[in-house]
């Protein structure tokens, strides 16, 4: 097996990894905000319901959640999910929405009450206060924990192999099994490392950009 062949195989897997990563991010960033609002809701039913879901999702392994999403609908309702990637993506979106929601909640609740009150006495609506005053301050606060979570997401995508989605790690494992050599696994590690390196640079750029003010 040549190096070029391994590279090609891993790239195919990497595309799947990227798809899963992008899909999860695009869906769970907004969904997480929704969950965060739910867990801060004045209505007790909504609040406890969302908090319960967050508890379950954060309290069980993601690996298990993937299996549940893929197998349980088929077993219970005879509704099988055709695309394995879709099943994994659903599990990831649910899982990461819950984690993101807690980061959002921390960010939103960390904004001093005085900011809301200042907006109120200046005649702003709740919506204007959130969009014009609170949001950017929240973003600044949550960039570091978010980047942490997003980098974890990159590595978590390797869990998709549990239902035989051939992502980067699984592609490497296949080479290992077929050719009896170990190095494709390390080579896959380099892919993760480089990708996370790029993300880290991106996040530190965002952090720097928001550093024009303090507090």
């Amino acid at each position: 097996m040549t190096f070029a062949y391994a590279t090609q195989q891993l790239l195919v897997g990497f595309v799947v990894t990227l798809e899963l990563f992008g899909l999860t991010l695009v869906c769970s960033l907004p969904l997480g905000l929704l969950v965060a609002f739910g867990s801060m809701s004045k209505f007790k039913i909504i609040k406890f319901f969302t908090k319960g879901i967050v508890w379950i999702v954060r309290g069980t392994p993601l690996l298990l959640q993937i299996i549940v999403v893929f197998y349980v609908p088929a077993l219970l309702f005879d509704m099988s999910i055709d695309s394995r990637l879709l099943a994994v993506a659903i599990a990831f979106v649910i899982n990461y929405s819950c984690y993101f929601s807690e980061i959002y909640r921390g960010g939103i609740e960390g904004i001093p009450k005085g900011q809301y009150e200042a907006g109120k006495v200046l005649g702003m609506t709740k919506r204007q206060i959130f969009i014009k005053i609170v949001m950017l301050q929240v973003i600044k606060r949550i960039v570091p924990p978010m980047s942490n979570e997003i980098i974890t997401l990159v590595k978590d995508t390797s869990l998709a192999r549990v239902i035989s989605v051939i992502e980067l790690n699984r592609a490497a494992e296949k080479l290992v099994n077929v050719y009896g050599i170990l190095w494709p696994l390390f080579y896959a590690g380099v892919f993760y490392l480089v990708f996370n390196g790029i993300l880290s640079i991106l996040f530190s750029k965002i952090e720097k950009k928001l550093n024009y003010y303090q507090g």
Binding site: P112, G114, Q115, E117, A118, K120, V121, L122, G123, M124, T125, K126, Q128, K132, I133, L136, Q137, K140, Y212, Y213, Q214, G215
Partner: protein, 293 residues
């Protein structure tokens, strides 16, 4: 005729009675200083006037017109409250400037939002009229003209807001700081920006909640100077303060509160020179003791 009249305001937090029936009146151009020890309910009263707290009972009149009547109005919508709030401005003890905006943006934000809301409302009405007869040429031409007018109005008011903001900044002596961010300013400068921000909406009554309590003595002076200047411009103000000398020199009326009731109310000469109540006397003498340290 009183500009602001407050009658029988009561407020409880749980079982604690913070305000036990407060009556206050202010004439236009008058400065009222509210003094009293911590926990006497001064700040709560101010927050009730600005609708940051909802009083349990009591009425608030502006120009003898009923503005707010508790508890009847306690479940007013945020929108309705917002209109009532604009009668008042409030300067906080902790400034509460918006850290992500520079000084000028801090001042212009609220007026800009207000104008754009007004324009949006008008555009809505226009659109509604237009869709009643979208194929009528006259209607269409009128719609176009009106929209053009609104656009012009929008641009000119934006310019007005900026000119006004700079004018106010000059008044508080910070025009050279208009591009600075709050984190780059001293406490005194922050508070002056906060005052400018409140002034930009030209409230009828400007309230101050212990505006100098977070400042060291050196910076207190510059803020008090600005407030004094506002008095000379005939602004109506309510100031909750611990600065007795300032209250004596600047206020037209002094209101001394203790345990949620008005103990003494009168001109500075009356309250400071000849206090009638024992509680006022002991409060003032304690304050004087502090001065002699």
């Amino acid at each position: 005729m009183a500009l602001l009249k407050i009658t029988n305001i009561k407020k409880n937090f749980g079982d604690t009675k913070v305000l036990k029936g407060i009556d206050v009146e202010i004439e236009k151009g008058e400065v009222l200083a509210i003094i009293g020890s911590s926990g006497s309910g001064k700040t709560t009263l101010l927050r009730c006037i600005n609708f940051l707290e909802t009083p349990d009972s009591g009425d608030i009149y502006i120009d003898d017109e009923l503005l707010y009547s508790a508890p009847k109005d306690n479940n007013l919508s945020e929108m309705q409250l917002r209109k009532k709030r604009l009668n008042f401005g409030l300067v906080f003890q902790s400034f509460n400037l918006f850290p992500q905006y520079n000084v000028l943006q801090n001042i212009m934000l609220a007026p800009k939002l207000l104008i754009s809301d007004q324009i949006k409302e008008k555009t809505k009405v226009l659109k509604k009229n237009f869709w009643k007869a979208p194929f009528n040429t006259d209607v269409r031409i009128e719609y176009k003209n009106e929209k053009e007018k609104l656009n012009i109005q929008k641009n000119s008011s934006k310019q007005n807001i900026e000119e006004n903001a700079i004018k106010i900044l000059k008044r508080v002596g910070l025009e050279e700081k208009m591009d600075s961010y709050p984190c780059e300013l001293s406490g005194g400068q922050c508070q002056r920006v906060a005052i400018a921000r409140a002034l930009a909406l030209s409230p009828r009554i400007l309230c101050f909640d212990e505006p100098t309590s977070a400042l060291d003595p050196e910076l207190t002076g510059e803020v008090l100077k600005v407030i004094k200047k506002l008095k000379d411009k005939d602004n109506t103000m309510i100031i909750v303060t611990h600065e007795m000398e300032f209250a004596r020199n600047v206020a037209d009326k002094i209101l001394f509160m203790a345990n949620g009731v008005v103990v003494e109310y009168g001109t500075p000469a009356e309250v400071f020179g000849n206090p009638k109540d024992d509680r006022t006397r002991s409060f003032l003498s304690k304050n004087e003791e502090m001065q002699t340290f």
